[in-house]
């Protein structure tokens, strides 16, 4: 008898890419669901190709399944074509492994990687036939648990989740699972489990807190309504990154997915302290993995997957101290076997140019710089420690080495930005071109230099020094974009420069959701009910429906973006202790105003507060007396 699928042949043959829904990938874990105590379904609320590329889920999948009493399975968002059919036929959403309905599981864990996935969270719940609001779920329904970077401000989606896991998944999940087994054994009420969970460090149960607002709309109080809930939720940190779970047998999809390669996470955290960057603050302390262990992982994972490519992952790979050793090891060991080493973006210097020339076809590859801002003044404001000299010298070396394509990444709408700073973007792009034409003799040139400058719209995020900042409206952003377009055209080498800009509508909504409060739950629900899903996909994003949702909920959209917040305003996410103190963030905001650069964690400790975690191999160690 062939494996039974949840969807019929008719359905699978009528949708695009049926391979998204059948499971049975290489290294998929098979267990008898009857023989486990807990069934956990892990979800990435976007299409399969995106979700399968996410390392975090692979780590947790491996970790959960290492326990015999738990069966962890997966689900991703059905693409709109299947979504439509499932609604018409009332087919319940299912997990890929067993093909069983998710509503029969004990837990549904949803990773929240970007704000624009919120309506997809509702789609998952809805198709699973689980009530959208946690308050409407009865005893049999799975507990819905959120995690990932967006759970650092879980308030806009608080109504939809029974609980949130704040921080890195490697620490207290098993404690939570054991509490669940205990609860089940005792035959208690749903609320009793939530109370048990609330006692575990890092677990936030939104329904156990009451929220009040001031007349101006800002948050007044945020307090637990039961003794089990703590006033502060402490972020979870894996303190020994070398000796923890790592998926040495990751799943190998049939379809080509976004990240179709072995991913080695070499380091967690970042020493740089760029003031716009949420990940740089959230993933502190910076913890490198042992290079020998990584070499071993690389070998094991290439053998267990058969992938033809391996890549490194971290927030700033150039800051990994054993990078040279690791990269040369990978190239020397695996290149001759036809395995490609895909490099992450690296600081351009002799080392990176050397490795790039070994693993890439120079004629086809391009160099990437992320100056983020056009002027030195602005780069000081955002604490991006990359100077014009660094860029031009790096580019010169690369041009001499045979490259002639450069990508430059910038942001528009940064706090304290002036039009001179924006013009700086055009000027910098031009300077890169000048460097090429002045230094590479005509006979050695392979055509024109190609410079692609891209800009995205800055979105202020919680737990960053810019969490107080006002965000540019889409009108301002468009004005700036048009101004920059004009300035690019004024440059001497404008024919060598191509300029791209990110969509302004999406950024604005992302800004609202990122720093929103609980009142947004109704808006998201309304937008979803009016048909919004896959908001992260431009072809599906419908701005008007969102605006309509705000209007019907009588909520002011601009309240969340169009104002500079007071120093002592109580933020919806302030109940989370991310380890980095609010005082430090404010200090950094002040330094930004003063255009003062803060040194990175290797050069000097700036006292962000994260040192209280006793993480092994952390960069903080150096500064503990």
């Amino acid at each position: 008898m062939f494996r039974k699928l949840a969807l019929s042949d008719d359905v699978l043959l009528s949708v695009e890419k049926p391979a998204r829904y059948i499971g049975n990938e290489i290294n998929m874990i098979k267990k008898d669901p009857e023989k486990v105590d807990i069934r956990f379904c892990m979800c990435f609320p976007d299409v399969y190709e995106i979700g399968m590329s996410h390392l975090g889920i692979q780590i947790l999948y491996d970790m959960f399944n290492s326990r015999d009493d738990i069966y962890c399975e997966r689900v991703y968002s059905p693409w709109p074509d299947l979504d439509k059919i499932m609604r018409e036929k009332s087919l319940p959403l299912f997990a890929l492994e067993s093909q069983d309905p998710i509503k029969d599981f004990d837990f549904l864990g949803i990773t929240l990687q970007y704000e624009m996935c919120y309506t997809n969270v509702l789609q998952i719940l809805d198709l699973s036939q689980i009530p959208l609001k946690a308050s409407e779920r009865d005893g049999d329904m799975p507990f819905v648990i959120g995690g990932g970077p967006c759970s650092y401000n879980p308030e806009p989606i608080a109504d939809f989740f029974d609980l949130f896991y704040i921080g890195e998944g490697e620490t207290v999940f098993f404690e939570l699972m054991d509490a669940y087994k205990e609860w089940k054994k005792n035959g208690e009420e749903r609320l009793d489990f939530l109370k048990r969970a609330a006692k575990i460090e890092g677990i936030y149960v939104p329904s156990l807190y009451d929220v009040t607002y001031n007349e101006d709309g800002t948050l007044k109080t945020f307090i637990p309504n039961t003794k089990e809930a703590s006033t502060v939720i402490k972020k979870q940190v894996e303190e020994d990154l070398t000796n923890t779970y790592y998926p040495t047998k990751p799943l190998v999809p049939y379809m080509k997915v976004t990240q179709d390669r072995v991913v080695l996470e070499i380091q967690r955290g970042c020493i740089r302290g760029c003031r716009f960057c949420q990940a740089g603050m959230l993933y502190r302390p910076t913890r490198p993995r042992d290079v020998e262990v990584l070499k071993e992982y690389a070998k094991t994972m290439l053998e267990s997957t058969g992938h033809e490519e391996i890549t490194l992952s971290s927030l700033s790979s150039s800051d990994y101290e054993d990078l040279g050793e690791l990269v040369y090891y990978l190239i020397n060991t695996f290149n001759k076997k036809g395995i490609n080493v895909a490099l992450p973006s690296l600081r351009i210097d002799e080392f990176s140019l050397d490795v790039m020339s070994r693993v890439q076809d120079i004629r086809k590859s391009s160099l990437t710089f992320a100056p983020e801002a056009g002027s030195q003044r602005m780069r000081n404001v955002i604490n991006k420690g990359l100077t014009e000299q660094d860029i031009l010298e790096g580019a010169l070396k690369a041009f001499k080495g045979g490259w002639n394509r450069v990508k430059l990444y910038f942001m528009l709408g940064l706090p304290y930005e002036t039009y001179d700073d924006i013009e700086g973007i055009a000027k910098l792009a031009n300077e890169v071109a000048v460097t090429y034409y002045e230094n590479i003799p005509k006979e050695k040139r392979k055509g024109k230099v190609q410079i692609v400058a891209s800009s995205s719209i800055f979105v202020p995020k919680p737990f960053t020094p810019f969490q107080w900042a006002r965000m540019n409206s889409k009108e301002e952003a468009r004005e700036k974009r048009d101004f920059l377009k004009g300035k690019v055209r004024e440059q001497l080498n404008q024919k060598s420069i191509k300029y791209n800009c990110h969509d302004t509508f999406t950024s604005e909504l992302e800004g609202v959701l990122a720093r929103g409060d609980r009142r947004l739950c109704d808006v998201i629900l309304h937008a979803y009910n009016s048909g919004c899903i896959f908001d992260a996909w431009t072809e599906y994003f419908n701005y008007d429906k969102w605006i309509e949702a705000f209007d019907s909920c009588n909520l002011d959209y601009n309240f969340y973006i169009d104002r500079e917040r007071e120093k002592d305003e109580l933020f919806p996410w302030d109940f989370i202790d991310s380890g980095v103190t609010k005082e430090f963030l404010w200090r950094e905001n002040e330094r930004a105003k003063a255009e003062a650069v803060t040194p990175n964690c290797r050069d000097k400790c700036s006292g962000c507060g994260i040192m209280k975690y006793d993480a092994k191999n952390s960069f903080c160690k150096k500064w503990i007396n």
């Binding site: 699928l5 042949d9 008719d10 043959l13 049926p18 059948i22």
Partner: protein, 270 residues
């Protein structure tokens, strides 16, 4: 050394497209210690080629791929190593070693055998006597003067007679095996669930390709029953080279030069 691998792809794997099957085998080889020869150039790739892509929805218990290995390995060893790293729905049936001069499966492919079954879960749509009606009409269908079908290509549509391109069509496996003189390696196909209406051999290759779906549709029309491709489950049983084959020509059992078909794993094999 050149090798030819006969494989099956059944069950839920029928939803995996051809490009993904290629990627699947490439990765499977890299999970073993069998070394596939790489092409020259800046981004070398494994030298693997497939006899013919299989459409989404079809199963196979007799498809082929050719591969060049750097070493000279035992064929059983290759099969066992690969099956150890593959799933239970795509696997290797047999490996044969080829002569150095052997042409690729794709180049020599001349015909293919299929099982055409009905899907029991669709029975309420196609009705009670559907199966019998079809089986009873096989003889009459084949006895026609000509069997006309409309062949659609990207550019045009043309009507052609495919009577000579249907080599055999039998209502049960036993008589099909008697006619073809073969024993099929289709143990993994679920005959308990899918009920075979007929077994068929058709011209299949780069010059002329008769899709089983085309024949089913024309057959249904002849038998006077409703055709819906979702009623049927197809399984490819075997693929053949023509001993008398010439480039650019199709031989049939009635042509001037008659075809002499031999299954791909016995063609130019050592």
């Amino acid at each position: 050394m050149k090798y030819r691998i006969k494989f099956f792809k059944i069950g839920s794997m029928k939803f995996i497209g051809h490009l993904d099957v290629m990627r699947y085998f490439q990765k499977a080889f890299r999970r073993t210690d069998i070394e596939v020869r790489l092409s020259e150039g800046f981004s070398p790739h494994q030298i693997i080629s497939f006899a013919s892509p299989l459409g989404i929805g079809l199963m196979t218990t007799g498809d082929y791929l050719d591969v060049e290995l750097t070493g000279d390995l035992e064929t059983d060893y290759i099969r066992e190593e690969l099956n150890a790293v593959m799933n239970d729905e795509i696997g290797v049936i047999r490996v044969s070693k080829l002569e150095d001069f052997a042409k690729t499966s794709m180049a020599v492919l001349a015909a293919a055998d299929y099982t055409v079954c009905i899907k029991p879960e669709k029975s309420e749509h196609f009705g009670n006597d559907f199966f019998e009606k079809l089986q009873d009409n096989i003889k009459g269908y084949l006895a026609q003067e000509e069997i006309l079908v409309t062949k659609k290509t990207k550019k045009s549509e043309r009507v052609m007679d495919i009577k000579d391109n249907i080599y055999y069509m039998e209502s049960n496996k036993k008589s099909f095996e008697e006619k073809t003189g073969l024993t099929y390696t289709d143990e993994s196909f679920d005959y308990d669930y899918y009920k075979p209406i007929f077994f068929i051999r058709l011209t299949h290759g780069s010059v002329l390709n008769i899709k089983p779906e085309t024949v089913i549709e024309s057959f249904c029309t002849y038998a006077g029953v409703k055709f819906d491709s979702l009623f049927f489950q197809l399984n490819r049983l075997e693929m053949f080279a023509d001993k008398n084959g010439e480039k650019g020509k199709v031989n049939t059992m009635n042509s001037e030069v008659k075809c002499e078909l031999v299954s791909l794993d016995r063609w130019q094999a050592i």
